[in-house]
Symmetry: D2
Subunit: 347 residues, 4 copies
């Protein structure tokens, strides 16, 4: 089959490789019908994720059809259309039972293994371990593209941004960073009842996307962002500040705009430590949360898609045949100049 | 001043009465600018609420302006525009501190005293006890009618229906009874993220209102209602069933349509006991809640109105000058034939 | 092997039967080392549970050792010492993922299948389906008897009584019915921080056990129980009333002694409907919960046993060799005259 | 009357000053019968709290008797025995209604005003503003000393440590810093059901107090503390780490010992920023909380004292007549050499 193979830093190719086969009785093989590229894939290509070795097939978001099932698989069968999420869940370890597959012990303490520790889903076929506890049936009548982004960015924005932030009816929420995950937080924050959603980003184009996803206010990132947010909130600050960038400056901004009693929900992946101003924050009754997505809310998100409450496909701005994935990578790597959010690759 | 005076069962009049004055240092006097009539007022007129004595001014929902303040009042001043809610809260007893002013001990264990145990707000002026812990400032730029129904039916639907029911993103909710309070539950259930809202009522006209308030499905009450709901939910039942009628048949329906793990939130006021089928329900992992509104969510609802997320004024179908309140009572008492939800009375 | 076989109403025998074998790749076979008898087994023997057919091996609580594993089992191996709980969990259906294995869809919508829909554990060996998602490792250094009752009554009392009731620090809790499950609610209610625990029962002997388990007050069931509880609580009522009997009178008592804002947690299995006084309760802001245990708290309870915070073995009042199970049934069936709580059967 | 007066950095005196009088109709005057000294008072004396001006009477923890009431006070009367807590709550602002009097707007956004922005309670009499929403009746039969520490350190440890940390049954909790507030967290953490409580401190004497308060393990602070905690927890880390010191090193330790999914509850008051290792923590699904006490749990703590579940008086190690407060300050300022926790001053 064909697959997108990592060849070391800076190297990727659309190669012929062996078809995957059932390895464990809990595996299934899925024919990939739709997949996408994640910012994490770009990090891997930069060499930032040393655990990814040469020869690894990338990709951790897919919709497809089951074509083969392991001996222990009873609730999935050939022909089932499934969403293959970024996170693998054994369903039996402590973290999985607690709904925190992000730290599944059976796969090494981190549930993200596709395109990382095992071969991924930017390929014609993929082996899916612990399939029964990991994949989700796609509701009838729903197109691949409507649920594709529920593999990673929607639950990331919802679980790590909106749920960890405790967003509820009437809240004022700031989402700092309006990339795909920030937009997912905006979309799902609106569903959770946020009354005002302030999107903050450097790029005007992303702020326009933010408005399309439900932001009620936009603020161009910069020195006066804090002051602008203070104006919008009448000096009160926000109930929830969602950090969706991953650098010290944006995290720090979040801690300055959150009101007493509020929450900073960190979604961004950070590469460096930050300074936490505990001399100001210790007295302020705030909460700071961090986390990797677990996917525990995918069933809920599927219902919201089924019922037309979430239009996740909006986040797909560019479409390619799967065979053109090399070009899709180029477009996605230059997301800003192409005004790209997510690419959709269809087999 | 003029006021709507209860004269015993079946008797009401728009009478000249003495102006109210400050009684306690925590009182304020409010000039009533907008008020409405509640189904409870009709019950009182039928003689169903014996605690209401002859001569009592009725009404427990108003928007107005503070015209006089007691000696201990520091956070309200003459000229402040306020929402006077149905529930009085002393702010210092155990229930009030716990956010459950419904059972305020300072006013006798039940927070509803306006037009019940003290004179109410269907009048030109009203004395408002424990004003600082009870009333809410109306946000600038918001019309009386936009917030009037936050005095009672909106927080009733939200607190006792939606919050007690634990409605959250993706939920399937049935609201049994699409009168004003049921419609308030539908409106606020949508805000809380419900994915499907099934309205059940006998009257087609109310089901149309339900759709306008956010219901996604409607079911005509009757013998096949349970089956229709089963069809809509694929046989699963609903996550939350909100009872907004107050009779055994509708409560029982709620217990039959709720899924394992779900909640029946009773909002309706009941006059008779019901049969609870514990022989079926004991094993079903369900929750049943009851309650009188406390108004703890009024600040949240005011934010939602301010930000345009709730259009509470939709529930006002008929408008009258306050002086025509006798006619307004006639219209409201025949709500079905007039397709009336709530009347708005303006001074 | 030998097993306790149901022979139809009134009939049981300690028989020679075939050894169980692996049926599905997710099964394990456990050598039973310690087991017990449940009140439910007595109900079955009375013919009250028609789903139990002649020839069925009874029992749903055991500690034992894995002697054989199915092909898909990777996290359990021969020689592992495990607690086999009453509830089977597939780990992959909606209810199981939500922590509500009580309604596991893979085993028919009710997670209790041992000694009910499949052969149980009052036997020398037992087949355990969905083993990896159902059984729990016994901590080192902990005796069988210390964890045996975590198979059913401890999590039942804790999940369905204490957790559903929302028991927390400082609460006043009434536990109506001081049989084994009521005592488990008392033990775990104390752990959850209850300040006062009022045990209510007809039998003085059970009230003594209740005190030994942590009850701070005891009330003999009867006409004046409501008044006695009112005295103890200074007229306020209890925060949480846990029903652990299963008849209308005790359920009704619970609804009368609970304070506004409180919870009635029903644990008892009911055979008949009851009258719910909604005409009084609708305004009272109470919560009523029901449920079958799911076992989601067994890991927590195992930690509490490991750390010496729970002495579950106290509930075992009589000990027998497994071969004497027929006699053990006789003793347990006459629990009151023998002052028996639970019997412990050891292979 | 006599009062402990701040005279600028390093200066304190037991002086004759004017008796306080009713200033607002919501005030009461309390005759102080028992009071204590807080570490914060020592900070003030060092000049670390510039808002405290010369001439200010210090102290914010007292038990006493109401001797005079303002015109608006109806629920308190002369002769009532009350606990005067550290935090003043107006009961009517947004934060107070939300149970977060720590940020009461009526008193300037920070609820701690006694001995800070207004005269305090280390005096024979004290004016208590917003008395009805701030003070608590002392249960009959309970001595002053049993509830004195509920004025500040018990609710601080419970609300900011145990509740913010989400401590529940079965949890493993580390309390870093075994001073009075850390000990309060240990005491109340045990009530909340913690299974293992690991106390960390430099001083062996404090670790002994920790054991007396309920710690199950002790670790001497130092380079190997992290490793020791790892050993105790079998490498897993703790569910909740409570920081009760207020310096970067101890905060950092907490972030290293907390497990995925766990919480760091910061209680210590910090004077400097710290480095937050987001490059490691962003993926770890942890929560960090901060806060000043609000006192919302004082009613709960009073119940636990009344029922003998908390023995708060254990934290009082030294007793003095109020007239000897100058000497009591000397002893408390040299707490380590005197093995002092809290001093009790009795009028």
């Amino acid at each position: 089959m064909k697959a997108l193979v990592f060849g070391g830093p800076g190297q990727r190719s659309w190669d012929n490789v062996d078809d995957p086969g059932i390895g464990e009785p809990t595996d299934v093989i899925v024919k990939v019908e739709t997949t996408t590229i994640c910012g994490t894939d770009l990090h891997i290509l930069k060499g930032d994720v040393p655990a990814v070795t040469e020869g690894r097939i990338l990709g951790h978001e897919a919709v497809g059809t089951v074509v083969e099932t392991g001996a222990a698989v009873s609730s999935l069968k050939k022909g089932d259309r499934v969403l293959v999420p970024a996170i693998t869940s054994c369903g039996r370890c402590g973290p999985c039972k607690a709904g925190m597959a992000a730290h599944c012990e059976a796969v090494g303490g981190i549930g993200w293994i596709f395109g990382h520790l095992i071969d991924g889903v930017q390929a014609e076929y993929a082996r899916v371990p612990y399939a029964e506890t990991s994949v989700h049936a796609v509701p009838e009548g729903i197109a691949d593209e409507q649920v594709l982004f529920l593999a990673d960015i929607l639950p990331t924005g919802y679980e790590i941004g909106v749920q960890n932030g405790g967003v509820g009816p009437g809240d004022t929420v700031a989402v700092v960073g309006a990339g795909p995950v920030g937009l997912a937080a905006i979309m799902t924050g609106a569903i959770a009842g946020a009354s005002r959603i302030i999107a903050v980003d450097l790029a005007e184009s992303r702020l326009r996307h933010a408005e399309a996803c439900g932001a009620t206010h936009t603020v161009v990132a910069g020195d006066d962002a804090e002051e602008r947010i203070a104006q919008i909130t009448g000096g009160e600050g926000v109930d929830v500040a969602i950090e969706a960038v991953g650098i010290p400056a944006t995290f720090d901004l979040c801690t300055r705009i959150v009101k007493a009693g509020g929450t900073v929900a960190n979604v961004g992946g950070h590469g460096a430590p930050t300074t936490l101003h505990l001399e100001e924050l210790w007295i302020k009754n705030i909460t700071i949360t961090t986390g990797l997505v677990s996917g525990s809310t995918v069933p809920t998100l599927l219902q919201l898609v089924r019922d037309g409450r979430i239009e996740a496909e909006k986040l797909g701005t560019h479409r390619f045949p799967l065979d053109d994935i090399m070009e899709a990578y180029d477009v996605f790597a230059a997301a800003d100049e192409n005004d790209a959010l997510k690419v959709v690759l269809t087999a």
